[in-house]
Amino acid sequence: MPAKTAVKPVRIVMAKVGLDGHDRGVKVVARALRDAGYEVIYTGLRQTPEMVVDTAVQEDAQVIGLSIHSGAHMTLFPAVVQELKRRKATDIVVFGGGIIPDDDIAALKKQGVAELFTPGSPLQDIVAWLRKRFPEGAR
């Protein structure tokens, strides 16, 4: 990366997939990431995997953050990863949050979800994880 170029902020699409409307978590995380200097685009509720990937590609995002509280994470999170593959956009990193049991976390990571944060995760942990993942901002 040329030294004189300013660091481009990482752009993150935050999305609620699935049918539930519990948006407390996603909104708190979105606000915290924005305060930490990330560019955050919040899609709103009831996004299909196709809609989420569309937004991420159009917005030239580096990261997709998914939130769900309905229990459909095992269907919908991998569907987002699959859709990224189909669109040849696998450079976009996917992380997720919600009520997700430990066994499911392991399974989702195997299927290409980079990280999962469960209830009680400090916001600082999410920010720290992103900083580690993108130490030099967006490439």
Binding site: R24, G71, A72
Partner: protein, 547 residues
């Protein structure tokens, strides 16, 4: 030097000021941020006439006999997987001493779509039971006599359809509509405000609510047609005062809508019921419940001119705070739930759901569900708390806090009125922003350790012991899809299409839609088909997402 007799409060103040203070940086305000004094005295007691239970303004309870007359109803919210599985759980809970049923529906049912809709994939039976048509409802209540129990149904946008399904099952059991009792959540305003399970735009949504209130006032008189809910507002992150204010404001909006329809207030007001969160800040919650009754009684009598005493009485269901449960060291949730349940009881709740310790991870197992129910039985029969009515009435602290929460709620009523009422305030994103701000403030306090959650940001353990959780069999999804398709193929197609086209016509006009929906339900039209018929006429709503 002569010793002068000192005012005892001044003396205490001096000793307090010079005494030791904890310096752990932990907030001493309530969880909602209300500043709290270290001591309350008679000087903090409001000047007012003696309040009595069973008498206006009902601060101390709506019944003169309190729990001496009748304990609260222990009503555990449950539902998962298929109607058949859930039916077994209901029979298990009833056999264990539960006194009412409370149905949790899965997300597709809550969102008015059938199990074979593409967006139902992965959602079927996960956070409640899947109900697609009358056939599923028949299975859900198989062997449960609807004339002898009461049932609460947590559903909103499609509420009228699910109520009609219940009525149709009663009809098949030979129980007249006048004999069935229960509660329909049917509170669409808080969906726009907090839980976001809306489908139609606000105005047609309100029409459906008023239709069901109007219809039930005549035909199903023992039914609580709406449960005006603060629970979801609180769980979405509001403060106690916001929960109270937004919920009561919603209640008044429903009253306004019914009055506008031409109904007499005393014909429907006594069937309005409320649903609040019982959160972890013990005294604040008790004060909230007490303030709720006083405010509602005053508004109903003074502003709306209700004459019947029953119209003044705010009856409520409470549920312990799901959001206070932790995935870390989940057994601690039993203690949290017990304390929250105690607050609800001391606040005079009419019915109560206690959360299971594993609900933060998944739907409760049988064992966890039983412990949750036993917690209520323990409160009712071991602790003695039910023996005295409003035992905290007269407490300097609780009375002062009750007044403070009432004052904060009244401030909000003024702001909502300035915005033009509840629906314009929803459209302006007012409630959503207020709630998001409170949620963010609280999260910041946790991050800074100005508030502690045991096991989460303090007193953590490195290795969590795994606990058993309830898993939904993935085969269930395809089975439910097959079931709804089989219902569609076996029914009298002509009768079903006729019912739906009559419903469409009625929706475009002004008739009360309940009889049309009931007819479609009887003809085994599916929930999704009925909703889509209404969507054709009403359209759908998308909210402007704000963070």
């Amino acid at each position: 030097m002569k010793v002068r007799a000192r005012d005892p409060q001044e003396a205490w103040q001096e000793e307090f000021d010079s005494g030791p203070k904890r310096e752990d940086g932990i907030e001493t305000s309530t969880i909602s941020g209300i500043p709290i004094q270290p001591l309350y005295t008679a000087a903090d007691l409001p000047q007012r006439d003696e309040e009595m239970p069973g008498r206006y303004p009902y601060t101390r309870g709506i019944h003169p006999s309190g729990y001496r007359g009748r304990l609260w109803t222990m009503r555990q919210f449950s539902g998962f997987a298929t109607a058949e599985e859930t039916n077994k759980r209901y029979k298990y809970l009833l056999a264990n001493g539960q006194t009412g049923i409370s149905v949790a529906f899965d997300m597709p049912t809550l969102m008015g779509q059938d199990s074979d809709a593409p967006t139902s994939r992965g959602e079927i039976g996960h956070c409640g039971v899947a109900i697609d048509s009358l056939a599923d409802m028949e299975t859900l209540f198989e062997g449960i006599p609807l004339g002898e129990i009461t049932t609460s149904m947590t559903i909103n946008s499609p509420a009228a359809i699910l109520l009609c399904m219940y009525m149709a099952v009663a009809e098949e059991q030979g129980v007249p509509f006048s004999k069935i009792g229960g509660t329909l959540q049917n509170d669409i305003l808080k969906e726009f405000i907090a839980q976001k399970e809306f489908i139609f735009p606000p105005h047609p949504s309100m029409r459906l609510v008023v239709d069901s209130i109007e219809y039930c006032a005549q035909e199903v008189p023992r039914w609580n047609t709406i449960s005006i809910s603060g629970y979801h507002i609180r769980e979405a992150g509001s403060t106690a005062a916001q929960e109270l204010a937004f919920t009561l404001a919603d209640g008044m909006a429903y009253v306004d809508a019914c009055v506008e329809r031409g109904m007499r207030i005393d014909d429907f007001a006594s069937r309005l019921s409320f649903f609040f969160d019982a959160h972890i800040d013990f005294f604040e919650e008790i004060a909230k419940f007490r303030a709720a009754r006083r405010i509602w009684a005053r508004w109903m009598r003074e502003r709306y001119g209700a004459q019947d005493e029953r119209s003044w009485k705010l009856r409520f269901h409470a549920q312990t705070a799901g959001v206070s449960l932790t995935a870390q060291q989940p057994e601690l949730n039993i203690a949290r739930t017990a304390i929250e349940a105690l607050a609800a009881v001391l606040g005079g709740t009419q019915s109560l759901h206690t959360n299971a310790m594993d609900e933060v991870l998944a739907l409760p197992t049988d064992r966890a569900a039983r412990i949750a129910l036993r917690t209520q039985q323990l409160l009712a029969y071991e602790t003695g708390v039910a023996n005295t009515i409003d035992p905290l009435g007269g407490s300097y602290f609780v009375e002062a806090l009750t007044d403070e929460i009432e004052r904060q709620a009244e401030d909000y009523f003024r702001r909502i009125e300035q915005l033009g009422g509840v629906i314009p305030a929803i459209e302006a994103g007012f409630f959503q922003k207020e709630i998001a701000d409170s949620a963010f403030r609280y999260q910041q306090e946790l991050e800074d350790k100005r508030r502690l959650i045991v096991g989460v940001n303090e007193f953590t353990v490195d290795e969590e012991e795994p606990i058993e959780i309830l898993r939904i069999d993935p085969r269930l999804e395809s089975e439910q899809v097959a079931r709804v398709r089989s219902v569609r193929s076996k029914r009298d197609q002509a009768r079903c299409s006729n019912a739906l086209s009559r419903l469409r016509k009625a929706a475009a006009g002004k008739d009360n839609l309940m009889p049309y929906i009931l007819e479609a339900v009887r003809a085994y039209a599916t929930e999704g088909e009925i909703m889509n018929t209404l969507i054709d006429v009403f359209g759908t709503y998308t909210e402007r997402a704000v963070i």
